[in-house]
Symmetry: D2
Subunit: 363 residues, 4 copies
C-alpha cells in the first residue's frame, strides 16, 4: 500500500504533527509506504515532487511550524493557471493529476487543507482517486468539526500580543486596537478577546456601531479608566452600510487604505479624543511552534486519517466532536462555514463580563 | 445581594480568571456586592478575611497565576485542626462558619476548588449555606467535567520542558525521564507525551513492566536512535507489585527515596546501559500565567457560577460538556475521579503513533 | 530625605524594575521616604500626582511591563501646552514645577527617561532641583551607555516574530519583510537580524539600494532557496534620494502611505517576482514582561541612581560601561545618539555570515 | 582549505549558532570546505564521523538547542577509556587523533567547548594540530571571557521558573527553594535571583549561615509577608563545615541524599515553621531554543573563530571583552575559573535591594 499526503492552503501550526502521525501510524501499524506530495498538489502535477516519508523524515517535526511538504494557495487542478501565449488561462488538468497518481502507484491520498482543498479532493475522488481529508483552517470556521488545529496557537499568539499591548495601554492611557485574523468568522477575535481581557471585540458576525463603542469607552473613562484594549477581526465592519474597506477591496473597486482596525480607529477618532494605536498581527498568527493543544489534535487527526484509509472509508474527512475524533463525508464540508451564533453561550459570556461587542444591546 | 468567593486547595492557573469573571458579572449584570474570602475558608473562620471585590480589584488579574484571595490545603471546617493544650486535635467548626457567613450578610458562596472543596461546600449547604461550585483540578481528573482550567497550562509547561530536554537528549544520546503531576490519573502525562513526541509514557492507569519499556528502547537503538524521551506520571507504578515508593511513602511506612521517575530510572539501569537523567517538574506545573484556553474556560466558569446564583440553582457545580458550560449537583462530584479508559481513543492514538505505554500489548 | 521618581517618554520593559530597585534601596539601605510622580511630570505639575512608594507598593512588579507610575510623551515644562482661549499655546512652567517640588518637600528627583527627559531634568537642575538620571531608550541609541534596558526585550520580541515568520516563509516560498523599531539607529534591526538569521537587514545608518537586495535574493533563488527573511528598521531608506515616506511624513508634508517595510516591498515588487508579505511589529516591541537581561540592568540602574543621590552626585546619569555601572554628566547625553559604526565589528559579523545590508559592498 | 568543527562537553543553547556562523563564513567569505566531527572527538577517533557541512546543512539551525554534531562528556584522547580484557583502562590515543586528522586532510579544527575541551585542544596543538577555540560554559565561569553563550538562556529559563513559583508562593504563603546550576560559581543564581526578585540567593562563593537566612525570612514574616523565593546554586554550602552533601558525594564517600536545595530546606525546617518546597531545574537549563542574546554571541564567536583560522592565529580562543570579540591564548584558559568577587558591584546591588546572601553582613 502506497499512501500519499498533501498539505494545501495557508500554513498553520500543527501541519507537521498531522504528517508525522500519519507517517508513523501508516508505517508502524500498517507497514505501508508513505510519500509526501510537495507544495500542495504541485509535486504531483509536475510529477517531480513525490518524496518518501520515513520514520526518520518525520522525527521531531511535531514542534515545528509550517509544513515540511510545502504548501501553496494556488494550484486547483480543475482551474489550473497556465501560460498560453502571452496570457494566463485556466485549464482543467485533473485527469493529468489522476494519471500521475496512478503512474506513481499511489493507492490513496490524505488531503490536509481547508474547504477549498477538501472540495478539490472530493472532485478528484469523483474521478476515481481514493482520498481522505484532514480539516485545516486557522480561523476555526469549518462547520464539520468543533475545532481545527492551529486555532489554539493563533489565539495564544494574539493573547500574548494583547498582554504586551496592555502594559503600554496602561502606562500611556492609550486605546490599543489589535486587528486579528477572521475574514468571515470571529472565533479568533472572540476567544482571544475573552482570554486577553479586551474591553471591546468586533466580529464579522455582528456589524458594529462606532457610537456604541464610543459610549462604552466613555463610560470607562468616566469611571476613571482611560486605557482600552480593542480586538478587531479583519472581517468586522460597521453597520452604516459602508462595509469594511478591506472587504470592498476584495471586489477590486476600492483601493485598500487599511484594514478593519484602521477603519475603526478612524471612526473612533471622529467621535472623541482618543490616543489610538493600531497593530496588525497578520502572518504572526500562522507561524511558530504549535501549542500543546494543537499538537495533540494534529496527532489525533493524522492518525485518524490513516485509520480511514485502512478501513477503506474514502471520501470522508476526520473531525472533532466533543472529545472524540469522528469523520464526515467530504461533501458535507464544502462551502459551509461555522459562524458564531448570535445567541451562543460564548457571546453571552463575553457580554456578561462587560465586553462591548459594538451592537445596541444594553451591555 | 452579597456574594462571596472562596478558592481552596492547590493553586492552579486560571483561578484569578474565575474570580474576575464572577466579580464582573455579579457587579455589572446583577449589581451585587462581591466579596472575597481569603485563604480558602480561613478568612471566614477567623472573621478577619472578608475583602471587598470591586471592578478595580479584579482589573487585569486574568493573566496572573495563583489566586489573589490566597488558598490553603488545610482548613476543612468539619475536621478543623486546633491546638488543645499540648497537641493538635480536630474539631467540627462548621456551625461557626455558617454563623460567621450569616453575620457577614453573605447570601451565597461560590466555592472554587477540587473534590475536597466541593464536598465541604456540599456539607455546608446541608447546614443552610447557599453555595455553588466551580471545579478545579490541575490533573483534570474530575468526572463531572470534560476539562478543568489549569490543565492546559500545566500540559503546556510540560511540553516546553520536553522540547528543552529533547535537544539535550539528541545531542548527548541520552534517555531523559520527566516526572509530571498525576497521582491518580495520567491526563497530564498522556496529553503532554503525545504533544511532546515522547517515546514512552507511563500512567497510573496502566501498571508498567520495565522489561517492556526496555525492549522498546532497545528496538529504537537498533534502528539507530540512541536518545529517548520518557514521561512518567508521579502515580505510575510497575506491575511487579511493588507500588511506587512515592505512594507507599504516603502511608508513612517507607522513607521517601525518590518518586516514580527515579524508580523507573533505577529499573531501566538494571536492565541495560542507559545514560539516564531524571527531571521532576513539580510545582512549575502549577504556576505562571494561564494559557489562553484556560483563561477562556476560567472566564466561562466564573460567569456561569454567577448565573447559578442568580437563578437560585444552589448546590450545583458548573462543568464543561463538549463546548457547553452546564451544571451538575455537587453531590455527584465527590469521590468520583475521571481516569483514562484503557480503550479510550486517546490511548489508542498514542499507541498508534508508536508510544510505548509499558504494558504487554504489541506496540 | 524625600526622593521622588519620574518615568517619562515611551514605555519600555524594565521601567518597573528601576522603580522597584530605587525604592527598595532608598528605604532599606538609607531609610528615605520614596514617592512617585505620576504620568511623567504631570503629577508634579498638577500637584495631585505624588504617590508614596513603599516596599509593599513595589513588591513583585519587576516582571511587569510598562510603568506603575504612568508616563507620557507630552509635558515638557519648558514648553508646556496649555489652552489659551480657543487655541493651544506653549508656556514655560518650569518655575511652577520647581515650586511644587519644594512645597512637597522633595529633596531629589530620579528621572528615568530618554534624551528628551534627561535634557528637561538637566534644565530643571539649572533652576536648583537636585536631579539624577536613568537612561531609557528601547532603541539603544544613547551614546552615554553601552546598553539600555528594554532593548534586549524588544530584540527578543522581534526574534520570536522572525522565528514565526520563518516557518511560513519556508512553507510558502515567501519573502517576509518585518519592520522593526529604530528611527535613527538600527540596533534592534541588526541584533535581531543576526539572532533571527535574516537574509537582509536594512538600517538607518546605511542607505540601501533595492537593486543590491534584489540581486542578493536572486542569487539565493538560483541556489535553490526561494524564501527570504528581511528585517527593515523603520528609519531605513533607499539611497535614491527618496527618503522613507515615513520620515517625510514626520515633516507633515506627505500623507503616510506606509512605512519603510512597505516601501522596500514596493521597490522589490518592481524589480522581480516576489511573494512578499510585510509585517509591522510596532508597539508589540515596547510591551510585555522584560527579559532577564533587562531586569538585571534595570535593577542595577535603579540601585545606582539611589547611590548617586546618596553621594550627592546630582546632575549625573547612570550608565553601563562594559559590565560596570558608572555615571556621566547629564549634559553629555543630550542630542548625542549612538549609531552603528560602518566599520563596527557587529556589522562585519553580519556581512561575514552572508547578511545583505543593501549596500554595494561585495557581500 | 579544509576546516573541521567539534563540539565537546555538556550541551548549551547557542552551539548550533556557532556551527552555523563558522560554516557560513568559512564557505561564503573564504571558500573553504567545512566539515563537522560528530560526538565531540569520537567521529575523528573512529574515523567514521566526519560529515560535510554545507550552507544547506546549517540553514535555520540557529534557533535549535543542542548541537547538530552531537557531543559527549567522555573522550579525552589523552586518557581515552578502552576495554582491555575484562576491565576499562585509560590510553593516550592522541597520536591516533592527529593521524586521523591528517589522513582526512583537515587543515584546522575549531574546538567549541569548556576548559576541559580547550585543554585537550591545546595539547593537540602541541602535537602539531592547528586549532582555535570557542569557549562554552553555561555557568559563565570561564575567566577568559566576559560572557559565554548559553548563560543568558539558562538565566532566562530560571527566571521563567521563578515567575511561576512566585505565583504559587504568594497564593499559599510558601517558601519556594529553586536549585539552579553553578557548581563552582554562582553566576546563574545571582543573575536569576536579581532578575527574578529572589529574597535569598546562596552561592558557592559565599558559605551561608542558615541562621542568617532564617532571621531574614522571619523579619519578612514580621512585616506581613509570609512567602519567600530562595535561589540555591547547586554548589552552595553552609559554613558549618559540613560541605554540601552533593559535593561530598562527588568523593564517593557519602550516599547522595539530595542536593544543595534539599540541604538548605532541611536546615530551615530545623529552625522554624516553614512551608517549604524544593524544585531542581536540572537539565531544563541546558536545553531549548537560545535567547536572542545568546544567538548573537554564538554567531559572533563562530565567525570570529573562522577569522582566527584565516589569520593563522592558531592556539587562540575567541572571547568577549566589553562589547568586542577578541582572542586569548588557549593556554590562559585552562583551570582558571571566574568567580563572583565578594566586593563585586553585582553582589552589592543584590544586597542593596534587600537580597539576603546568607552571610553575616548586615543586610
Amino acid at each position: 500500500m502506497r499512501v500519499a499526503i498533501s498539505t494545501g492552503g495557508g500554513d498553520c501550526p500543527g501541519l507537521n504533527g498531522v504528517i508525522r502521525a500519519a507517517v508513523l501510524r501508516g508505517i508502524l501499524e500498517y507497514g505501508w509506504e508513505m510519500v509526501g506530495i510537495t507544495d500542495g498538489l504541485e509535486g504531483l502535477i509536475s510529477g517531480q515532487g513525490l518524496v518518501p516519508l520515513t520514520v526518520d523524515d518525520v522525527r521531531d517535526i511535531h514542534g515545528q511550524g509550517g509544513t515540511i511538504l510545502g504548501t501553496t494557495n494556488r494550484g486547483n487542478p480543475f482551474r489550473y493557471r497556465v501560460r498560453d501565449g502571452g496570457q494566463w488561462v485556466e485549464q482543467d488538468i485533473s485527469g493529468h493529476v489522476i494519471h500521475n497518481a496512478r503512474s506513481a502507484g499511489i493507492d490513496a491520498v490524505i488531503f490536509v487543507g481547508g474547504d477549498g482543498t477538501q472540495e478539490i479532493a472530493w472532485r478528484l475522488a469523483g474521478l476515481g482517486l481514493q482520498v481522505v481529508g484532514v480539516p485545516k483552517t486557522i480561523d476555526n470556521d469549518l462547520l464539520a468539526t468543533d475545532y481545527t488545529f492551529g486555532f489554539d496557537s493563533a489565539v495564544e499568539t494574539v493573547v500574548e500580543a494583547l498582554d504586551k499591548l496592555r502594559t503600554t495601554a496602561r502606562s500611556h492611557d492609550r486605546t490599543m486596537l489589535l486587528e486579528v485574523m477572521g475574514r468571515h468568522a470571529g472565533w479568533i477575535a472572540l476567544h482571544s478577546g475573552i482570554a486577553g481581557g479586551a474591553d471591546v471585540v468586533v466580529l464579522p458576525e455582528i456589524p458594529y456601531d462606532p457610537e456604541v463603542i464610543h459610549r462604552h469607552l466613555q463610560a470607562r473613562r468616566e469611571s476613571g479608566i482611560a486605557y482600552n484594549i480593542v480586538v478587531v477581526a479583519e472581517g468586522a465592519f460597521s453597520r452604516s452600510g459602508s462595509a469594511s474597506i478591506l472587504q470592498q477591496a476584495g471586489t477590486g473597486t476600492v483601493a485598500r487604505l487599511g484594514g478593519a482596525g484602521d477603519e475603526l480607529a478612524r471612526q473612533l477618532s471622529a467621535l472623541g479624543d482618543y490616543e489610538l494605536r493600531v497593530t496588525v498581527l497578520g502572518h504572526l498568527q500562522r507561524g511558530g511552534t504549535p501549542s500543546s493543544t494543537d499538537r495533540v489534535l494534529a496527532t489525533r487527526f493524522g492518525a485518524a486519517a490513516v485509520g480511514l484509509v485502512a478501513n477503506g472509508q474514502f471520501g470522508r474527512m476526520v473531525c472533532l466532536r466533543g472529545d472524540t475524533i469522528e469523520s464526515v463525508p467530504m461533501a458535507d464540508v464544502a462551502g459551509r462555514q461555522k459562524h458564531i451564533g448570535l445567541d451562543s453561550q460564548l457571546l453571552q459570556t463575553a457580554r456578561s463580563v462587560g465586553i462591548c461587542l459594538g451592537d445596541e444591546r444594553v451591555d
